[in-house]
């Protein structure tokens, strides 16, 4: 079955600590992978997409096809990174945007 898994629901770290938000998917073919973020009382918005291979707000995400993972990483977390993060793999050829269950990141001062 096609599925996306974010195994951890909560992650709490101190400012300056590294963070890794995990995402695994089980879609066949070549899905396009995204990370979305929702800051407190704000709309969901795109954080980054794997085809861009860019770093946004210090976050990067590497697609590992062998492990079918797309983990989101940041070497030094900041308080303003506190938010809900959703992994969203989109199956190839599909317009269906499916999201993982989300993970709440809290960065403490």
């Amino acid at each position: 079955a096609q599925r996306v898994t974010q195994p951890e629901k909560l992650l709490s770290v101190f400012k300056g600590a590294p963070v890794e938000l995990k995402c695994n998917y089980s879609y066949s073919g070549s899905p396009e992978l995204f990370w979305y973020v929702q800051y407190s009382r704000q709309r969901l918005q795109l954080l980054l997409r794997h085809i861009s291979r860019e770093s946004i707000k210090g976050f990067t995400a590497d697609l590992n096809k062998g492990e079918t993972s797309f983990h989101l990483k940041k070497p030094f977390a900041q308080e303003e990174d506190s938010a809900m993060y959703y992994c969203a793999p989109t199956p190839g050829g599909s317009e269906k945007l499916v999201f993982g269950k989300g993970m709440k990141l809290t960065v403490n001062p």
């Binding site: 969901l44 795109l46 809900m84 959703y86 499916v98 269950k101 989300g102």
Partner: protein
């Protein structure tokens, strides 16, 4: 300019009532969605329309009926509201794979 706008932002209503949430996008996108975010922040797709045609209809009670008068609008009508319908409803649009979301409508059924 707001790309995807939803109204109302907050909606408090009694059980059994019928209510609508409106969504408009000015991005010229062909595809629009409705998502439900529950109390655990789990985001679940409900409907998807492509150029006014329904293409995705997940397992959603018949009390929920989307309507797309044109490709810039996708409204959500809910009949006979139940307590379990309380959630935040997000509208989104996309052209290709990237989605743009509205600010959400927090529906509270009392």
């Amino acid at each position: 300019d707001t790309a995807v706008s939803q109204t109302p932002k907050y909606l408090v209503t009694q059980m059994g009532n019928d209510k609508s949430i409106k969504c408009e996008q000015n991005l010229g996108h062909d595809t629009m969605y409705w998502y439900k975010q529950d109390s655990k922040k789990f985001l679940k797709i409900m409907f998807s329309y492509n150029n006014k045609e329904l293409i995705i209809n997940e397992t959603v009670p018949n009390r929920f009926s989307p309507k797309s008068p044109d490709k810039a609008h996708l409204n959500l009508h809910i009949n006979s509201l139940e307590l379990g319908d309380s959630a935040v409803y997000f509208c989104a649009s996309s052209q290709g794979r990237e989605a743009f979301f509205g600010q959400g409508t927090r529906l509270t059924v009392v």
